[in-house]
Amino acid sequence: MTDLVLVRSFGEAARAAAAVDAGLIAHDAVLLVARTGPVPEVATRLQASAAFAPIRARFSTIADLNDILEPYHPLAPTISDARLAKRLSEALGGLHVGRVVADATVIGAGARPVPLPEADPASIVAEALAPHRLGPAPDAIVLGAAPGDHADASEVHAGLVRAALELGPRIVLAPHPDAPPASHLAAERVAAEAGATLEVLDEAVPIELALAAWPDVPQFSGGTGMGTAAPAPTRPRRRGAVARRLDTARSLVRAYTFRP
């Protein structure tokens, strides 16, 4: 019997890897990676990121849930549990699945997953960060939202960047992996109009890496449930206009945050 560990983000994957190190998940477990955004077919595969290397090293097998469910969506797999079990079994080479470990219930009504253990992913994140060169710390980091539709992501990002510009002209935007590609264009315009520079973090660099590289930089986010992403802002002593802007940004994000 082999544990099946389901993750939807780098944050969850790093926690799962840390749980293997802590002995909470067996070394021969299978890691099942899912993309759960509105258009997963165009989303970057977590497994394709260089940051995935330390996670890959901790599991016997890595499988892609979207490939297994194709063409259905992991959050709405309109196939029977029997067909799902057959496809899983084929994809995993006939392995007998023991526990399903997951923070989400995305694989069939029959699966009763146990939650992902609370293991500190800091060492995994540090290992993933080592080969990256992220440059000097910016004035603020904007953590992108995961909106439900395409028009909204741009507005959310633009609103957050407008708020973040109160802290300085050097802003890094880390788009949510499920956000549509180039949903940062409106935010770029906002930054350009303010004479500021907006660096959009490469898709291959998970948000967690940016947060680990620049631990003291204030963050603007909408609380998208991303792994280790901290609630915004991390520096509550900056009040006044900034706080008001943050409230605006938060309510914007609340209005647009995608809830499956």
């Binding site: 077919e41 063409p71 969506h73 709405a76 590609p181 949903s183």
Partner: protein, 318 residues
């Protein structure tokens, strides 16, 4: 080396274009052309296209000086095609990574004029696999068999341009253009002409096109507005084609399809205003009466009893 052009018309598409471009990147190949037609957009579409063209060598951007609609845009793209094969994509839809490689391989391997595929209809996160109405898979057959006898749904009734790939050299460049005077459903007569005149056809089990049902708010079957009635114009074009062909079986087949379409819209008449309803009955009656009597009778006879009753009432009214 790819020998395929992908034609993507768009108007004010900034909300969908980034996803569309990502899907094209995930389907890029040496030699593959992406002809993106900007139909006089007034949003950020031109800037997004310019940026994309600088990043992907296969992209050709064609900008219409005035708004000519999706059919005219596709026709304008036809003039730029210098590859053997073409396919189409709507800007709000997307493809599975590598889909175009599999699609192109299918037509190269089968050596037929046209290959059609299944597709996936997307409604939020829910997805439905929609199969092209043909049981024979991955095997070439005479294209005329895609029309089939009256009373049986066949591939000619599957009017999804993007669920297919077309061999320009076999079909003939002169047969590519759409009737751009039509507002909607120009693909209906286009597919009829294609299957009437082409040599060979096939259907394969691919389903890599994701068709976004909800975004398409103006879609014919959903809209309760005047454009609903344009489908009648589309079937009038089909009637012209089959009558000109002199094939009585095809004429009966087209009459059956026209009658089936009419009953479909009559069943959904609640969406129409009283004025549009009267217009539907009048124009539907004109369309059906314009078919030769024998062919109409033969076609209508293949419909279920309830539909025949609707057609009798439509034909009785004047």
């Amino acid at each position: 080396m790819s020998d395929l052009s992908v034609i993507v018309p768009m108007h004010n598409a900034e909300a969908f274009l980034p996803t569309c471009l990502a899907t094209l990147r995930a389907n890029d190949a040496d030699g593959r052309r992406f002809i993106l037609v900007d139909d006089a957009s007034t949003d950020q579409t031109p800037e997004l296209l310019e940026r994309a063209a600088s990043e992907m060598p296969g992209i050709r951007v064609l900008t219409n000086s005035g708004n000519v609609g999706a059919w005219g845009s596709r026709n304008a793209a036809h003039a730029l095609v210098d590859t053997r094969y073409i396919t189409y994509l709507d800007v709000d839809d997307w493809l599975a990574p590598g889909h175009l490689d599999r699609l192109e391989a299918a037509i190269v391997d089968l050596g037929v004029d046209v290959v059609r595929t299944d597709h996936v209809r997307v409604d939020g996160l829910a997805r439905t696999l929609v199969r092209a109405p043909e049981r024979r898979r991955s095997i070439g057959y005479p294209a005329q068999e895609a029309i089939g006898p009256a009373g049986r749904r066949a591939v000619v009734d599957y009017p999804f341009l993007w669920a297919g790939i077309y061999d320009v050299t076999r079909i003939g460049r002169e047969n590519l253009d759409f009737d751009a005077t039509m507002r909607t459903a120009a693909d209906r007569p286009w597919f009829w002409r294609l299957y009437m005149t082409a040599g060979t056809a096939a259907v394969v089990d691919l389903h890599g096109v994701f068709y976004r049902k909800t975004a398409n708010v103006g879609a014919l079957t959903q809209a309760g507005n005047e454009s609903t009635l344009h489908i009648i114009d589309a079937f009038a074009r089909v009637r012209d084609l089959v009558v000109a062909s002199g094939r009585e079986d095809w004429t009966a087949r087209a009459a059956a399809s026209a009658a089936d379409m009419v009953t479909f819209h009559v069943a959904r008449r609640a969406r129409l205003s009283p004025e549009l309803r009267r217009e539907l009955y009048r124009r539907a009656g004109d369309l059906l009466r314009s078919f030769p009597d024998d062919a109409r009778a033969a076609g209508v006879a293949t419909l279920p009893r309830e539909q025949r009753a609707v057609i009798r009432r439509i034909l009785g009214a004047s």
